[in-house]
């Protein structure tokens, strides 16, 4: 970058004190080069100030609203996919347990199902006991109640998500 006379000045009148403006004016009288540079800068500044603020195409707000709606739709779709994934994993695990028991004695499919249900029940019971221990002597039924409430909440969420999923599909004309 080549050195200029104007480099020693801030080139913006707003940055100069009255004394500095006076000094600049004296310099300008002496130096035609400085005069040339200053008038070039003033032309640039005038172009900036005259160049209007550029606005978007009409309908910007509507496009923003549409974008927001699309984002929300995508987010709820992701939540549904996650819930469905979790449900499938749960179902697969239960089927695996039942399948392993049935492989041992294929004739006893019914008892294998009952046994798996009992096993899940025991698991919930253990969870409740663990919660009761955590609760420092709280009665076990409070733990069980909390766990049941949590399970009920997950079920309600799942049903709501399924409903929204199905409803969304109809609205989009997909389903």
């Amino acid at each position: 970058m080549k050195s200029r006379q104007l480099d020693h000045w801030p080139m913006d009148e707003r940055d100069l004190s009255a004394a500095e403006i006076e000094r600049l004016e004296r310099e300008l009288e002496k130096s035609p080069e400085l005069q040339k540079e200053l008038s070039a800068w003033q032309a640039i500044e005038a172009s900036f100030r005259e160049s209007p603020m550029v606005g978007p195409e009409p309908g910007f707000t509507h496009r923003w609203q549409a974008r927001l709606a699309t984002r929300r739709e995508r987010r709820s779709q992701r939540q549904v996919n996650l819930l469905l994934g979790l449900l499938m994993m749960g179902a697969f695990s239960a089927l695996l347990l039942i399948g392993l028991d049935t492989l041992a004695s294929p004739a006893q499919l019914g008892s294998a199902v009952i046994e798996s249900v009992l096993r899940i029940g025991k698991l919930i019971g253990s969870g409740a006991r663990y919660l009761a221990i955590l609760g420092d002597g709280w009665p076990a039924f409070i733990g069980a109640l909390a766990l049941s409430a949590a399970l009920a909440w997950v079920s309600v969420l799942w049903i709501a998500a399924m409903y929204r999923y199905a409803f969304g599909q109809i609205q989009n004309g997909v389903g």
């Binding site: 640039i44 900036f48 603020m53 707000t61 496009r63 923003w64 609203q65």
Partner: protein
């Protein structure tokens, strides 16, 4: 500070009123879009960046400090969005340049004669010679009339860094402008009869 009717809109929007936020979008779209356009240089990218900036503001409205002017907060978000977009664009360009040899191609702007271009386009081209941060400082200073302190806050810089960036930007602009003026003069001499 924040206008009273703006304050009411911002409070309503923060409580989940989408119509209130739509009104905010309506009010501030022009300054936000202008900043994005000046930084990114084309309307397609400016539209996308300003839409995304409003989206981020909508999500982060609870973090907004009402002591600060809303427009400054909004412009800071838009500036950061433009920086992200430029970073992504640079990655894309590197990828494309690796695929195609563009050295023998002329850009459309090079084919356009200087005097045929509008003043606004000349301003935009002069600005494009600057680095993004310098460009942002110039735009905020000359289009929005912000003080050094306000620019420093928006661009996360110190006051002296803003001053030195503006000083450097002005020098570069002067170079670009002078070179253009010279080219313009030569072009006119070539077409004028001997």
């Amino acid at each position: 500070m924040v206008r009273d009717d703006d304050k009411a809109l911002i409070t309503a929007a923060a409580e989940g009123d989408d119509d209130a936020f739509s009104e905010i979008v309506e009010r501030y779209q022009k300054p936000v879009y202008n900043l994005c356009y000046r930084l990114l240089g084309n309307h397609g990218d400016a539209e996308d960046a300003s839409q995304e900036a409003f989206m981020k503001a909508y999500k982060g409205l609870k973090k907004y400090d009402p002591q600060r002017p809303f427009i400054s907060w909004m412009l800071a978000i838009a500036y950061n969005q433009c920086i992200d977009q430029l970073r992504r664009r640079r990655i894309t360009w590197v990828g494309l340049e690796a695929l195609f040899d563009r050295s023998d191609q002329q850009s459309p702007s090079a084919e356009t004669t200087m005097d045929a271009r509008g003043e606004s386009e000349r301003v935009q081209e002069a600005l494009s010679a600057l680095s993004t941060k310098d460009r942002a400082a110039v735009v905020l200073r000359y289009w929005y009339d912000y003080s050094y302190d306000e620019i420093a806050e928006m661009l996360s810089l110190t006051n002296s860094a803003v001053k030195s960036r503006l000083h450097r930007a002005r020098r570069e602009l002067l170079d670009v402008w002078t070179a253009e003026q010279l080219a313009l003069g030569e072009g006119q001499n070539e077409v004028s009869p001997a």
